[in-house]
């Protein structure tokens, strides 16, 4: 089977250590590398199974010093022409190289797609089919969960709004094309251009957000947990450095879940502050408590805040039970007050790193940072690299949508007939749908019938 599209992905784990590998596979793999590789020789003219030293460039900017490995199909993992770019590790550099590869003609691989291609190209024993299916299944499940759940609510809403507008205008044009005697398109092009300018601006802003990592919550999912009024929100504020969570001394203030991303010595933590865990009859608070428990299940790291000025109670013990199997750090908070619990006492119940802090006075915060850093670099806490891929995939989709809308504008300005607009409008609609996990289906036809009165 010949697969026409060329795909790329990061083939190594996304940590700050070691080397990173970006893999490209498909008929245009050599075209892509020739566009971005600067070295002594042109890669496409080199024999298979050789390694070349050089630089990856994005236009004029040099991104990294690399080794490029060539494997011509069918003698490669996927059976297609394959390029592997070995670069200095580092999340930023690897990501940047993948983005450059995407910009130059490849598309991000679907979850498990390399393996799928290898299999379909006969590079794997048939007996491994089940294993291949498992890989696709598992990776998809993860990617799906991430691509949508990692998307910030506000971003999702914004994209939803853009899609709605695109669909409305497409449906208007289409209903006029289907029923020209009832619906007129006179002067519609100009109106559309105004709308397009607005949408293009919003998309541009979203792309910038994506660049700054503000679109999805990249990083280690860290959940702060503790019984009510243990000082969780104060801790978040101390870490973030601003009054992000509302802090009061009334128990049960944080009834929902707050989220914040912070950078600690180059590690990004995606911190979730939760409602205090306690048995409660208050319905709103109960929802918050359940949410907190869910968040904890998904977390890469749990920060358990214990109020050292009070005795351990049943709420603390419930938390201890829940986090036994998780990566966690325990903070004995309120060291500024008279303490009723000691590290030693707590160690009997829970074997996790422990620090005494005062979130209010911001004491012990530095120690916490050091512990987190150590845990990360010793590989105790990691996170799945699919998140990074997700972000790149989403950026790619935003870029596609932007280009498509720009093409609509060009078509209007070039005096093309209206039926050409909708081709690109629907392309943009589809690209954005990939971000929010929605497909087209019967959207357009339904919109036509629900919004516009067709004749006969």
């Amino acid at each position: 089977m010949k697969t026409t599209q060329t795909i790329a992905a990061i083939a190594t784990a996304m940590t700050d250590s070691g080397i990173g590998i970006v893999r490209i596979s498909g008929p245009e793999a050599f075209d892509v590398i020739d566009r971005i590789y600067k070295g002594k020789k042109k890669i496409s003219e080199q024999p298979s199974h050789t390694v070349h030293y050089g630089w990856i460039k994005d236009g004029e900017d040099t991104i990294d010093e690399v080794l490029v490995m060539i494997m011509r199909g069918p003698h490669s993992y996927t059976g297609e022409d394959t390029i592997e770019i070995n670069c200095h590790g580092g999340v930023y550099v690897v990501k940047k190289i993948l983005e450059t590869v995407i910009k130059n003609g490849a598309r991000t691989a679907e979850p498990g797609e390399f393996t799928k291609r290898a299999f379909l190209n006969g590079k794997m024993d048939l007996s491994r089919a089940e294993a291949v299916i498992d890989v696709i299944h598992a990776k998809n499940k993860y990617a799906l969960k991430n691509s949508v759940s990692q998307l910030r609510g506000a971003v999702q809403k914004k994209i939803g709004k853009i899609r709605e507008e695109i669909l409305y205008h497409t449906a208007y044009i289409e209903s006029a094309l289907d029923d020209p005697e009832h619906i007129s398109l006179d002067g519609y092009g100009e109106k559309l251009v105004d709308k397009l300018d607005e949408l293009l601006k919003t998309l541009q802003k979203l792309m910038k957000d994506a660049d700054n990592g503000r679109m999805i919550q990249e990083g280690i999912r860290t959940v702060i947990i503790g019984k009510p009024n243990a000082g969780k929100s104060s801790l978040l504020n101390a870490l973030v450095g601003e009054e992000r969570a509302i802090v009061t001394d009334i128990e049960g203030t944080t009834r929902d879940v707050l989220e914040e991303s912070i950078q600690l010595n180059g590690i990004s933590l995606n911190i979730v502050d939760t409602a205090g865990i306690r048995k409660t009859e208050d319905i709103v608070e109960k929802i918050g408590v359940n949410k907190a428990k869910d968040q904890m299940q998904d977390a890469d790291l749990v920060i358990f805040v214990v109020d050292a000025s009070r005795e351990l109670d049943e709420n603390d013990f419930e938390i201890i039970r829940m986090i036994r199997e998780k990566k966690a750090v325990v903070l004995l908070n309120k060291s500024d007050l008279e303490t009723k619990i000691s590290k030693e006492e707590l160690k009997q119940y829970l074997d996790k790193p422990m620090i005494e802090i005062s979130a209010k006075e911001e004491e012990g915060i530095h120690e916490l940072e050091t512990i987190l850093k150590d845990m990360f670099f010793q590989g105790e806490i990691t996170f799945n690299d699919e998140i990074y891929i997700t972000n790149i995939r989403q950026k790619e989709a935003l870029g596609k949508a932007y280009e498509s809308l720009q093409r609509v504008k060009d078509s209007v300005e070039a005096g093309m007939p209206e039926d050409f607009y909708t081709i690109d409008l629907m392309d943009a609609y589809e690209a954005l749908g990939n971000i929010t996990g929605e497909t087209i289906g019967e959207d357009l036809v339904n919109e036509i019938f629900s919004k516009f009165c067709m004749g006969k």
């Binding site: 039926d419 050409f420 036809v445």
Partner: protein
């Protein structure tokens, strides 16, 4: 051979194919079968209803015009008959892109019907019989014949169901409910039960038609006249355009107003649609006037088109005002429209309910999955419209014949024809209303134009045996000329001579600063192949049809190429067949919803599977790997 213990009489004429129904689907199906050498019989409840047009008096329109062209390109009849019997013709959307240009003709209904009937009557291998078919006879899941109302049995090897809106039909307006087919014709009451006994899942759909008003009672001075095109384009690729330039009749445009709407609103409680008397699902694309007023309450007026039903009648069709309101409300409502103040209603508007099938029980060949030799087409399959019916009828007829001959049946895909989109949608997607063709349903519509239907399909029609050698050769000649002329203009350079610059100036086009090819100039929106004739002296003599193809192919080259690339991807997935006996329960890791949908639908290809709602791209990947592993 014995077909039933109590058979009264067995017809000794041997038929290969029996077609049930002689509407637009039945006519095409029967003609295709007979022309492909099958001994064919077509049953109709009334000889007077052959190719009848019980609703609007026109053929074609947006996307429907494409269907007619495609039917013609494959060797069907509809295009030829409407070319003979139109009384007005118009190319819609002429100011838009070529993909949405759509031909629509007003038909003389009576003449259309008669002309088609004559073709059927004079067709070799084809018999027509007026009677009601009551039963499909099968043995071991295979069609063996049909039984008619007298009890007589007609043995045959294949049956094509084209029952339109006749099955258990009920016509309704106000509190009047009549057990009749369209136009008061006899309904077919027995067949549904037989189909249900065969295990076929049925739906109940609804549609409607407006009143017919005596033209002598209409004041046209209060309406806008709607004329046909000055130069008429024929539907059929075989019709010489010069032979059909004739006097045309006019249609008229008027509008509803606030009073009309008030009358309707005040009487909504008497509408069977809102009182719950009608259970069937109606189409969203042609809502009744009461539907429009409820759903689009902010519109202060709706267009009303007054269209003649023919030249030998004074009946006028009131387009845009179909209704099932009671008779007295109909009078009041129509008479509130300017020009219709003294309207005499010759036929009341009515809604009609009928039995049809869930077409997902069919293969894309239009044969039932569970009953060999049983095909179906037209409104019976849940579509609406004469053109949609004809298209399916033609395909069902072709495939029944090909099957009898032991050949491979044809399936047009979504990148080849609107017919492909139509049938794929019907057999793949769940639908709860009559399905109407729309250009927005065709994802590759830039390639599926009405002007190139012959280039897309006539070769297929020729290979099947419905297109004569001579017509096919003419097409090849045309294609050769288009290709060589495009090649030529891509290479002919024009300089910046005064003649060139003057011509450009004349059409408001920017003068050239250096040389350019003719093709580059054609790409400018304000210019065309024809306009550039004066600066292109080596140009051969080409027909209007050919120059149109040159313009389109050069002007929209970028978009066309883009769609062609998409089609390549699409075809790859269509070509991956899924074995009939696949056990989806054995495919590990398919999501439960996907397993359910796939089991229910049993798609024939990975491509079709991917269009089923509830089947995700990951499911498709899993399926691909699974198929490879069991190969």
């Amino acid at each position: 051979m014995k077909y039933s213990a109590n058979s009264v009489w067995e017809n000794k004429d041997v038929y290969d194919v029996a077609v049930i129904g002689a509407g637009h689907a039945g006519c095409e199906a029967a003609l295709a079968c007979a022309r492909l050498g099958m001994r064919t019989i077509v049953f109709t409840v009334s000889m007077e209803s052959v190719a009848m047009m019980p609703c609007n008096p026109n053929i074609g329109g947006t996307s429907k015009g494409h269907l007619v062209r495609e039917v013609d390109a494959l060797g069907g009849e509809m295009g030829k008959i409407i070319d003979q019997t139109f009384i007005q013709s118009k190319m819609l959307n002429r100011s838009k892109g070529p993909a949405v240009h759509s031909l629509r003709a007003q038909a003389d209904k009576a003449r259309y019907s008669t002309a088609m009937r004559m073709v059927l009557e004079n067709q070799e291998n084809l018999d027509i019989k007026q009677t009601e078919v009551t039963e499909i006879l099968t043995e071991e899941g295979k069609v063996t014949g049909v039984r008619i109302v007298s009890g007589a049995v007609y043995p045959c090897r294949a049956v094509i169901l084209c029952t339109g809106t006749y099955l258990k039909a009920r016509c309704i307006y106000g509190d009047v409910s009549l057990e009749t087919g369209p136009n008061g014709l006899q309904a077919a009451t027995h067949l549904t039960d037989c189909l249900k006994n065969l295990g076929i899942r049925m739906y109940r759909f609804k549609t409607g038609t407006p009143a017919r008003i005596d033209r002598n009672s209409i004041d046209f001075s209060k309406m806008e006249e709607q004329k046909g095109d000055e130069y008429v384009t024929p539907f059929s690729f075989t019709t010489d355009p010069e032979s059909i330039q004739r006097e045309q009749v006019s249609c008229w445009l008027t509008y509803t107003n606030e009073r009309t709407h008030e009358i309707i609103r005040n009487n909504l409680d008497r509408s069977p649609l809102f009182s719950g008397m009608i259970e069937g699902t109606g189409p969203r694309y042609c809502p009744s006037i009461e539907d429009k007023i409820v759903k689009f309450a902010d519109k202060d007026r709706h267009q009303v088109f007054i269209e003649p039903e023919g030249e030998s009648t004074t009946e006028m069709y009131i387009g845009g005002m179909s209704s099932s309101l009671p008779e007295d409300v109909q009078y009041e409502m129509y008479r509130s429209v300017p020009g219709l103040e003294h309207a005499k209603i010759m036929r009341n508007a009515y809604a009609i309910e009928y039995d049809c099938i869930d077409a997902r029980q069919l293969y894309p060949t239009l044969e039932f999955r569970e009953i060999e030799g049983l095909y179906s087409a037209g409104q019976f399959n849940g579509s609406s419209g004469y053109e949609e019916a004809a298209a399916q009828g033609l395909i069902a007829g072709i495939n029944a014949a090909l099957k009898m001959k032991g050949g491979e049946q044809i399936v047009l895909d979504r990148s080849q024809a609107y017919i492909g989109v139509l049938i794929d949608d019907l057999v793949t997607k769940e639908s709860h209303e009559p399905y109407r063709m729309m250009t927005s349903r065709a994802e590759y519509r830039l390639l599926l134009r009405q002007d190139n239907a012959d280039q897309r399909l006539t070769k297929i029609g020729y290979e099947i045996g419905l297109i004569p050698q001579e017509r096919y050769e003419r097409l090849l000649e045309k294609e050769k000329q288009i290709a060589s002329e495009i090649e030529r203009v891509e290479h002919v350079n024009v300089g910046t001579s005064e003649a060139v610059q003057n011509l450009l100036k004349q059409y408001g086009s920017t003068p050239l600063s250096s040389g350019s090819t003719i093709a580059e100039l054609i790409r400018r929106p304000e210019l065309s192949y024809e306009i550039l004739a004066p600066i292109d002296p080596q140009r051969p003599n080409v027909s209007h049809e050919t120059s149109e193809q040159i313009n389109i192919n050069i002007k929209y080259d970028g978009y066309i190429k883009r769609q062609m690339r998409q089609v390549e991807q699409f075809k790859k997935m269509e070509k991956k067949r899924i074995p009939e006996d696949i056990d989806y329960d054995k495919v590990k890791s398919l999501r439960i919803e996907a397993v359910q949908k796939l089991k229910e639908q049993r798609p024939v290809s990975i491509g079709q599977a991917s269009r089923i709602s509830g089947v995700s791209p990951a499911d498709i990947s899993v399926l691909l790997v699974y198929l490879e592993s069991i190969r």
